[in-house]
Subunit: 386 residues, 3 copies
């Protein structure tokens, strides 16, 4: 029968009295899923603050791709360093700034420990680096990275009560808002912080005269997952995929599936080939697919179909918003996936809403599935008893 | 005295045991108002699904113009076929796609039966046809019409819980969002789905040097009602007006009044004469006027004045939004009327909110008025009793 | 000990039986703070309506700068007349139109008496005058000023229930919406209501080749407070500052501080020098700083730090939105400060939310502080008792 006190799936009370050797063992055993246990070990009161902070930051890194696992975070950070040390530095600055801001202004400590106040700041500073036309190692850029990261925490804290009324996650709304505001505030010809204007996917200067290169297209599907971190290098992307695999194989499959759907959508509207090959056409689809396929809904064939629909809608919305914002030189970032995933969470349609997991209980898809099964078995046994 | 069991205005229980002849008679008797009774007859369990679907679809057609009557829907569909068979086909495809999507994803069946999941899809596909520069009978356009219709249902289902917190209807928000996204996604020079850019009403290329042609202006007022269905032909518009008259004479008067106000507003800001003559300046006024004048508020001289104010605001908002969206080549569709009608529903001002009808009880204006009177009489009798 | 019946800080019951001489005395004594008492005297039933209206209107004038004091309103009105009689006339027309509309459509009379339905209309008509390119004393402009004022009341009444769910004030959202819609509707080349397009602060035509003029910069900081009323004259600005000082010295300091921060922010992004010298770069910072520093939060060193953060965010948001809206020739008005102040009110961060004052109890900062202290003393005494 289903025993509620075992709900968090970890071993019972002795956790706090483990020897160092045991701790390493436990960490190895539990390095998949959301490593809730590791988080708990790190929260032991006598643990030094810097060590705790590292756990929070690494979770923040992984949260960008909807994972909640410090090991995934470490792998992804390694992937970013491999692709560009400067970008990795920028990202870390934004990440740290937003996490520390959350500590300073007094946000809920459980949220901070879960890395919820880091990922938006990281994304903002990564994108600042990508769009900056001042080149790598332009140290002044650390200033807006710091400020942008801090602003994300303010936005997160302010949007939470708004979205909470419908049990919606804040997700990457703060990142999307801050980066659009930053790029608007500086403009392409700013004296201190110049940046490249965004190229909309429907830009006509690229005449699409050349034939489609299928291997490049397939590579673009894989790169779509890396583009979630604004990273366009293949080895790094593979490492990021590995990091997602550790957290959840179901999400890894959905990431690739969503990116593939995004690429298909790009083809259906004949976007620039460059957008297809670089993975830019795919990453919104990947995010939209991952959010619905297992994370916020219990995995089943029905939610799988909805995940595919979500990927399609995310990718179409992304192209529309990219063209729209492109008229004023702005990128659409992950607005498409964020809005569509929020829409999916709001859906009242019985065939999807029945699988909705309350935000407070969201874990890895496998964990969600496991809990759901135990709950169903419990319900069955209960009904047999009666 | 007011008897609550008679509230739905239909005859009592024997409805389910009527002979076919009686059914036809009843249908003729009840073909005005929202034909709630006909809907109930169609829902008899042994009724074949296609027949039920036709009722839902026809109600969906009428819902575009705020009517809820299958006969009105049939007349309007005939008007659209008369004006352009291709447009009528496109509209039907979108209508069917969104209604069937609602059935498949498991929306509330009462909503589906009321045609609530059809009208947005129909409007999207109609507008896709109007803006397409690929000419009539461009069969590929059926694909976005299908997809757009389905997307409307997702948006409807997701917006409902958001707006429900303030007892607001979803109205045509999904249509307005989807069409703007579709036109943004494809852009004017898309390889597969090219379209005309929208011409803002304040465009200066039209120099307004010529004198105003009063008969054309008056015709424009009438055409404003047809423009709700993106239809600019006079005979079809007259048929549509007839369809509204069947549902409710009060709404028919408000439609013409609102269109007239919209034309006046257009004159006050010296918009292009073409916008006045085609009825494009009037249709937002018509929608704004109809929504407040009897549908969502009990009809009285006060709500009538508010309906006039709503028409003015809708028409001004439409011109503002048309100019704004026109800078990126997009049309404002019915954003103006939709936003203003939503604002009116939110108004806390005593002189309007006292007449507000809860969304769940909205019927035809005459029906609303009738119920209100019975309720007042009941209240009076009750107080006499005491 | 804290006695709740003294909560409003005014003398007790005999207020209604004061002789005329006493009344004048009382008015002089209570002319600082929110002059709640004066408002009560004005509401005596036998007071003629025009006299009451003057109190409401003058409070409306002061509300623009977050003050609630008829004397401040009178001083500010005098400052506006001094700067430009035409602008002052326009402002009064909009103010009166929106207040009377509120009376006519039946808004809550306490809100009307507090001047809550006047300030948006005043701002709209002031900005209409500033942007109009038809010159002063273009009498036709009174028509949109009237209509715009009335529309503000509709928007205020409709937004209130939306924002009320999170205990947020409507603030100047209606003004910001109406002025953007008005400028969009007319467009720069309108035949009846032409206007200047807005110049974004990042405009590159101004080459910033000249050295910064520090005295002008400092003057710009002061002018930033006047720009809240779209007034760029130094003497008038000083009078406006005096009016704020009467209401609350804390707010006066925060206004200048915020304007200074806004100017710093402008320097950090190298905006046009003209924007710095005219105070346009500072007024959003001033508003953002005033709202957080004492008005909606009990004043303390923590809220003071948040007020500084709010000023920074408001000023950055203003530059971003100005550049963004500038691409379509529109100004950002006070969108930046309004959005950031709303964000601050939503913040769940413990270190700020603990100081939040419920909207219904907001008074002058000094009054808030006084009440908070009495409450704390009361709590201490209570705990001593136990």
């Amino acid at each position: 029968m289903w025993s509620p006190e075992k709900e968090d799936g970890g071993p019972p009370a002795p956790a706090r009295s483990l020897t160092p050797r045991h701790r390493i063992l436990t960490a190895l055993l539990y390095c998949t899923g959301d490593m809730e246990h590791f988080g708990k070990i790190m929260e032991v009161p006598d643990r030094p603050f810097p060590l705790q902070l590292v756990d929070w930051l690494l979770r923040g890194v992984a949260r960008v791709i909807l994972a909640n696992n410090p090991l995934s975070g470490a792998l992804i950070l390694a992937a970013l360093v491999m692709a560009s040390p400067w970008q990795a530095l920028l990202g870390t600055v934004g990440l740290t700034a937003s996490t520390l801001t959350a500590v300073i202004i007094g946000q809920d400590s459980a949220e901070v420990a879960g890395g919820l106040h880091g990922f938006n700041g990281m994304l903002v500073s990564l994108l600042m680096g990508v769009f900056s036309s001042a080149g790598d190692w332009y140290w002044w850029l650390l200033l807006p990275a710091l400020l942008g990261g801090a602003t994300c925490t303010f936005l997160f804290s302010g949007l939470a009560p708004l979205l909470d009324k419908w049990d919606l996650p804040v997700a990457v709304f703060p990142f999307n808002m801050v980066i659009v505001l930053f790029l608007s505030a500086t403009g392409p010809h700013n004296a201190y912080f110049p940046h490249y204007p965004a190229t909309p996917p429907g830009a006509t200067e690229d005449l699409n005269h050349t034939m489609l290169d299928v291997p490049q297209l397939l590579q673009g599907v894989v790169l779509g997952v890396g583009q979630i971190y604004a990273c366009g290098a293949l080895p790094s992307t593979l490492l990021i995929l590995g990091a997602v695999l550790i957290f959840s194989p179901i999400m890894c499959v959905h990431a690739l599936l969503g990116s593939g759907i995004g690429t298909l959508v790009g083809l259906s509207l004949s976007v620039r080939h460059a957008a297809l090959y670089s993975g830019l056409a795919g990453f919104n689809g990947a995010l939209g697919c991952m959010a619905v396929g297992g994370l916020f809904f219990t995995f089943s064939w029905r939610t799988h179909l909805f995940a595919i629909a979500s990927a399609f809608l995310s990718a179409y919305a992304d192209i529309a918003l990219s063209n729209l914002l492109g008229t004023v030189g702005l990128p659409a970032c992950s607005w498409g996936a964020t809005l569509v995933a929020t829409l999916m969470l709001l859906l009242t349609a019985r065939n999807l809403s029945a699988y909705r997991i309350p935000i407070g209980r969201v874990g890895s898809p496998e964990h969600n599935l496991h809990k759901h099964r135990r709950w169903e078995e419990g319900a069955k046994e209960d009904s047999t008893d009666v």
